[in-house]
């Protein structure tokens, strides 16, 4: 009896699979005037703990694509985005990739943020030879692969530029560090450990913050003797740390790496002096006074995005510029737009401009295709309630 049922169940499952298995190509080749649409795939954590930064990033991409489509497209062709959710889960991300992969018309991919997703998918990406533009994680597999074109400044570039800046402000300063207890935290620690003594300062301690922690009393205690504190975590943990430092009477300047800085950091620290809190980031906010601001505003109008959709970090800007750069490269590739010709275009020697929102991007040569190598230090304008740059571009070559 049971076996019979099992067999029936197998047959039913196969029937279901067979019925659905045939429609593998969802890409929707809706051609508009000028030619067939160009398909770009996107995989990101649209649900899960990272949605706060991931969704604005995707919105930025959409805004960039909308602007391009409205302003002549790519040699007359429009770009179409295929969105898949990886749900902060490697298995789902792999599944999402498998869903997009069969589409031979897909010439590029975007998103793929999250180091474990990149690690799982990098071999698959390499197999397909498809360019991935703009992933935000800056870890090993993403850097080692020929097909990944990163945008964000690496932790090394950020940390080194930050430390140099700190030492200029306060020669010989004692630097305390707090990092989130995941592997990128270790990366940041290593950068600080090397850069600080090299620039004449001393390190006072390295503390770990547990994801989801609501207080950082012991860490703040341990960091009490510092002249300045750097933190690399997510925004909530940075808020908790700053509050804890304040509770311990330690009102030294705090510098947050790109992952821990966002409007919520300054807004969330309560009565702590926001003039003492800074961030370091390769990218500015969407309201920054950059040369590309007018176009960005136009793009926002086109996609009818509301303020909430733009997020509280620089993710939106990155997504927007990533899409614009991709479009530019696609234009360069000309009429014969394939994955190979796109690779060539992305690696052009003059690199790409970021419309004033960040430094210059240069992907010429082989892997690693690092992102911007220059950063700015950002502070808070309490009157406007906005993140503003307090320095020009720092670091990088020269």
């Amino acid at each position: 009896m049971r076996r019979g049922f099992r067999v029936l169940a197998v047959l039913a499952a196969l029937a279901l699979v067979g019925a659905c298995g045939s429609d593998g190509d969802d890409s929707g080749n809706g051609g508009s005037s000028g030619g067939k649409a160009i398909t770009v795939g996107y995989i990101g954590d649209l649900t899960g703990p990272n949605t706060g930064s991931e969704v604005p990033y995707l919105n930025g991409i959409r805004a960039g694509i909308a602007w391009v489509n409205e302003n002549g497209g790519v040699n007359g062709r429009k770009i179409e985005l295929q969105v898949e959710d990886s749900k902060f889960d490697v298995a789902t991300g792999t599944q999402a990739f498998q869903r997009l992969a069969p589409n031979k018309d897909m010439v590029a991919m975007m998103g793929l943020n999250g180091s474990s997703v990149i690690a799982a998918l990098a071999p698959e990406v390499d197999k397909l030879g498809i360019p991935v533009v703009g992933p935000a994680a800056t870890t090993e597999p993403g850097l080692a692969s020929e097909n990944f074109y990163n945008l964000q400044a690496s932790l090394e570039d950020q940390g080194t530029a930050l430390v140099k800046y700190l030492m200029e402000q306060q020669p010989g300063a004692k630097v305390g560090t707090a990092v989130i207890n995941v592997a990128s935290g270790t990366e940041w620690e290593d950068v600080i450990k090397e850069a600080v003594p090299a620039n004449g300062g001393t390190t006072t301690g390295f503390e770990k913050l547990e994801p989801g922690a609501v207080e950082a009393n012991s860490q703040a205690q341990a960091l009490k003797g510092s002249d300045v504190v750097t933190v690399h975590s997510n925004v909530p943990l940075a808020v908790v740390l700053v509050k804890a430092l304040h509770a311990q009477g330690s009102d030294v300047p705090v510098y947050a790496s790109y992952g821990s800085m966002g409007e919520t950091l300054w807004k969330g620290v309560g009565d702590v002096d926001t003039d003492k809190i800074f961030g370091v980031n390769g990218w500015s906010m969407y309201y920054a006074d950059a040369e590309g601001k007018a176009d960005l505003d136009e793009a926002i109008k086109l996609t009818k995005l509301k303020k909430d959709d733009l997020g509280t970090t620089a993710g939106f800007t990155q997504g927007y510029v990533a899409a614009r750069i991709l479009a530019e490269a696609m234009k360069d590739a000309g009429d014969d737009l394939t994955r190979e010709s796109l690779h060539k275009a992305l690696r052009r020697s003059e690199g790409f401009d970021t419309y004033g929102f960040a430094g210059h991007v240069d992907w010429s040569g082989g892997a690693p295709h690092k992102g911007v190598q220059q950063v700015r230090i950002y502070g808070w304008d309490a009157d406007k309630g906005q993140i503003v740059a307090v320095t020009d571009l720092l670091g990088g070559k020269g």
Binding site: V10, N59, D89, A101, A119
Partner: protein
Amino acid sequence: MTTLTATITDSAVPRTRRRSVRLTLLGSGAALTLALPYLLDSYWLFLASTLGVNFIAAAALNVLQGNAGQFSLGNAAFLAVGSYSGAFLWVQQGFPLPVVFVGVAIAGALAGLIVGLPALRLHGIYLLMSSLAAHFIVTFVASKYQVANFGVAGVPYKAPGLGPLSQDRSKDVYYLIVVVAAVVALLLWNLLRSAFGRALVGVRDRDVAAAACGIAVGRTKLVVWSITSSIVAVAGLLQAMSLGTASIEFYTLGLAISFVAMTLIGGNGSLLGSFVGAIFVTGTPEVISRIAKASGASPFGDSIWSHPFELQRIAYGAAIVLFILLEPDGLVGLGRKLVRLVRRMQRPRREAT
């Protein structure tokens, strides 16, 4: 179709005829399963492999929970034991595949033994809490191991070369999974029908009475924990091979809960239930995202189908709630009721002739 179901289910039809029909069905099912990689594209093959792994882990959990009555949230931890001991044995030490499988099974059994020790004295919420604690401790140790040896991105699992039978990675993994699933299913099937299986039920329902009947309750519990955890560990190894990586963020409490949901939705204590439950839980997100795409709703619009990912979550939760409330025997229970209905419909016809 009525004749077919009648032939399988109707007890009035001669046994030999029933058996030969069942065997034919079984045979064609097996043939289809083996031929699947050549019929499906990579996406569906990956889904099928995932389904296979889920079935293995759910079946083991079902025996532990449904048949032996040990409520456990430890599945994610045991999967992690499997993939990380596999990381050590295979990725780092490079032992041949059969050795790795045996090693992983042993590691899983040991882990199950340790986690099962509290089960000797604890019941109810206390047993649940101990599996919860086990989950956090195992994942903590695993994350330390991962960061120390492999870094952020996780353990890279290359393709499991099957020697002369090797084709490409996804096919190899699929066949490995199918073989293991068949072995596990047979093993558990026989286990449940043996004296040991009856002892399990005794331990679940009336452990004091079972002890009075001469069943070594403590030893039975430890054995079932070891066996089931061993199986789940092997499933974890297979899963890591299928995904190509093992990273600690994957082994969440939610993952452990999803296996409990599979057993619940499929049918507690039933091997078929594990299979059907795995199909349901693995397949529902798929169905929902297809409907969402078909509805044409933009992912940024305002209709309900603009949020397929949240809808999947709601459907998952609703399924759990509804099955507990309305059909505690799961899909298998529903199926049995349907069969009874069909039989009842057939009976008057026969009596009329």
